[in-house]
């Protein structure tokens, strides 16, 4: 199935009074990262002046997300940015966007489809930067537990894959005591950790596919002296994770910066709509810096600036 690439006949539209109408289809507004990204997108688009953004919510449901894509095609947006819930599931619908000659950027995650561009934060990379640190920091014969996101979730799968290839395969001495799904949720991770503490007594490190779950696990052992030196690894670089790193409770996290993602998406879309670039030339990655106690202050400052951390 080929996707025809969209040629730019946009120039005629550029002098429309209300500027370009762009749709952003978010994975799930209930997911705090996706919600943050949507917010940053709105803010970044507002700054451009000649583009307006409508945000749609895929409700973490592929059928809903596909429906919204269909609606957006039907309603003649000038450009569409898709944050897929499930790359494969959205693929045929993204192809429809291309067929309708609407420039399409996929973001967080990238969906491989001819004729589209992409701006991504690579989940493998985000976990990998943690693995590099963990290789050094996690002691010999350590016992660890692993927390996963929802079954089948693209990010969770990719991050887990990175941990396998970049850490567990290289450290056969490390034993996984237990591994379970906590659906990105802090409360579910907390309950799992409480039970694991009862079952295993000693846990050296928590390896979590996101920061929320890592924070839940840390919460469960917060006042337990035995776990004072427990390590915890996450991904996302949320405000909470930064605070925990600052307190010394969490080891590291790989930043997935909604601000950077939004900025790059906005610029890319602007370039495409104004004819500066072809959409197929867009293929960017935001960096995934590792946040540790060494550099956490700068990120805390970032969150203070955007109001997520107070005082």
């Amino acid at each position: 199935v080929g996707c025809s690439s969209s040629d730019s006949k946009k120039d005629s539209k550029s002098d429309k009074k209300d500027g370009y109408k762009v749709a952003y289809i978010a994975r799930a507004q209930e997911d705090s990262f996706a919600a943050w990204l949507a917010d940053e997108m709105r803010a970044a688009f507002k700054k451009t002046g000649d583009m307006s953004l409508e945000v749609f919510d895929g409700e973490a449901n592929d059928e809903k997300e596909n429906s919204i894509i269909e609606n957006c095609i039907a309603n003649g947006y000038d450009g569409i940015i898709v944050q897929a819930n499930n790359g494969e599931a959205q693929l045929p619908y993204i192809q429809q966007i291309v067929e309708a000659d609407i420039p399409c950027i996929t973001t967080n995650p990238r969906v491989e489809c001819e004729g589209t561009g992409s701006v991504d934060a690579d989940p493998y990379e985000q976990a990998k930067v943690n693995c590099e640190l963990a290789l050094k920091k996690i002691p010999k014969n350590a016992k660890v537990v692993v927390l996963q996101g929802p079954a089948g979730n693209f990010h969770s799968t990719k991050r887990r894959e990175a941990w396998k290839k970049e850490f567990f395969d290289k450290r056969s001495d490390v034993k996984i005591l237990a591994e379970d799904i906590a659906n990105w949720n802090k409360d579910e991770a907390m309950q799992l950790m409480e039970d694991w503490v009862q079952a295993y007594g000693k846990i050296d490190a928590v390896i979590s596919m996101n920061d929320n779950m890592a924070a839940g696990a840390i919460e469960a052992v917060k006042d337990n002296a035995k776990y004072k030196n427990m390590q915890a690894y996450g991904v996302d670089g949320t405000a909470e994770a930064c605070l925990l790193i600052k307190e010394g409770k969490m080891t590291s996290t790989g930043l997935q910066s909604a601000i950077d993602l939004a900025k790059m998406n906005t610029e890319a879309m602007h370039d495409v709509l104004t004819g500066k670039k072809k959409v197929t030339d867009i293929n960017d990655n935001v960096p995934a810096p590792l946040i540790t106690s060494d550099n956490v202050d700068e990120y805390i400052q970032m969150y203070k600036d955007n109001g997520q951390i107070k005082e």
Binding site: Q29, E54, D62, N71, G152
Partner: protein, 333 residues
């Protein structure tokens, strides 16, 4: 006299009136709403939910419920895809989905009719088990590369998307069952007065099995459509779809006290919810606000429906000349 006819009309067709009102409002507030493409989209989007709603309708009319349908859909869908992938036959894939839907619902029926487990708890247990089974089977991973399997959900018959074709066929079948078969009529009796149904020689247990089996067939078909439409076997898909189905059927006038409900009402309920979702997306309503509004509108639609129905039913005893100003009396209820 005329007045009371109008009232009868409103009473009988209130849900359709609400639907039409909504349609008109949508058309006014947004230009894109009335485009053929958009309307086809809406129909396609609500087809899976409406098919599930018919299953729930049969159950609720008979005083039962199914909370497992989202999970069963997922299990049926992933097993169906696996079957298709290993045999290459679309037919086999389709039949496996139906078989799985039926098997799960057969267990529901056994628990409910033979072990007297409340339908709520029996199907809640099935919800957990079927979901677990779907995840276990796929190891939590999505099944990919569906190839031709996508024809069910993404194909078209002329201008009409396949899911809509399925929905239309199932609507007709459901309507036929509910109005033209003994089985369908007996559901109203079972839900309306189970004792009377038994005493009238209706085989209540057998009929409950049949209802769950039909519900299972619908769940299986919905599973095929869902997975094929999203182009992946998602063991985690369709969470909470039981509530969508139930909402459509209840908004459409089916009553939880049993014995009341119609196919067309359920269809109208499905469309009301479909329009609601669509118009809010068209208008770019913030997604959190959408949820708030959706809750409010559903409550209002049901209030309007119930209000219009409650207006009647106080009996009149006084001789006609005694109350020329004509009846109407707040029902004591």
């Amino acid at each position: 006299m005329k007045n009371s006819k109008a009232r009868d009309f409103i009473h009988k067709f209130s849900i359709y009136i609400i639907l039409v009102a909504m349609f008109i409002i949508c058309a006014i507030v947004n230009d894109n709403f009335l485009s053929a493409r958009n309307l086809i989209n809406v129909a396609r989007q609500l087809s899976v939910g409406t098919i599930l709603a018919y299953g729930e309708m049969l159950l609720v009319i008979a005083g039962l419920i199914d909370l497992s349908v989202g999970s069963v859909l997922a299990l049926a869908g992933v097993l169906s895809i696996a079957a298709y992938q290993s045999t290459g036959s679309l037919l086999v894939g389709f039949l496996v989905a139906i078989a799985v839907g039926v098997a799960c619902n057969f267990i529901n029926a056994i628990l409910v009719t033979h072990f007297d487990v409340p339908a709520f708890i029996a199907t809640l247990a099935m919800q957990m088990s079927a979901r677990g089974a779907a995840l276990r089977f796929t190891n939590g991973q999505n099944l990919l590369q569906l190839k031709d399997y996508t024809v069910f959900g993404q194909g078209n018959l002329g201008p009409i998307p396949m899911p809509v074709v399925f929905m239309i066929i199932i609507t007709i079948i459901t309507w036929y069952i509910m109005t033209h078969t003994r089985f369908g009529r007996s559901l109203y009796a079972i839900g309306g007065n189970e004792g009377a149904a038994i005493a009238s020689g209706i085989n209540v247990k057998r009929n409950k099995y049949i209802i769950y089996i039909i519900n299972g067939i619908f769940a299986g078909i919905a599973g095929v459509l869902f997975m094929s439409r999203v182009n992946a076997g998602l063991p985690n898909g369709a969470v909470g779809y039981e509530m969508e189905g139930l909402t459509a059927t209840i908004v459409g006038g089916t009553s939880f006290s049993g014995g009341v409900g119609t196919t067309m009402g359920t269809l109208a309920g499905g469309f009301i919810i479909g329009f609601l979702n669509n118009i809010m997306n068209l208008m770019g309503v913030d997604s959190y606000v959408q949820q708030i509004v959706k809750g409010i509108i559903i409550a209002l639609a049901v209030v309007a429906d119930i209000r219009s129905k409650n207006k009647k039913t106080q009996k009149v005893i006084l001789a006609a000349d005694d109350n020329d100003d004509k009846k109407e009396k707040a029902a004591a209820k």
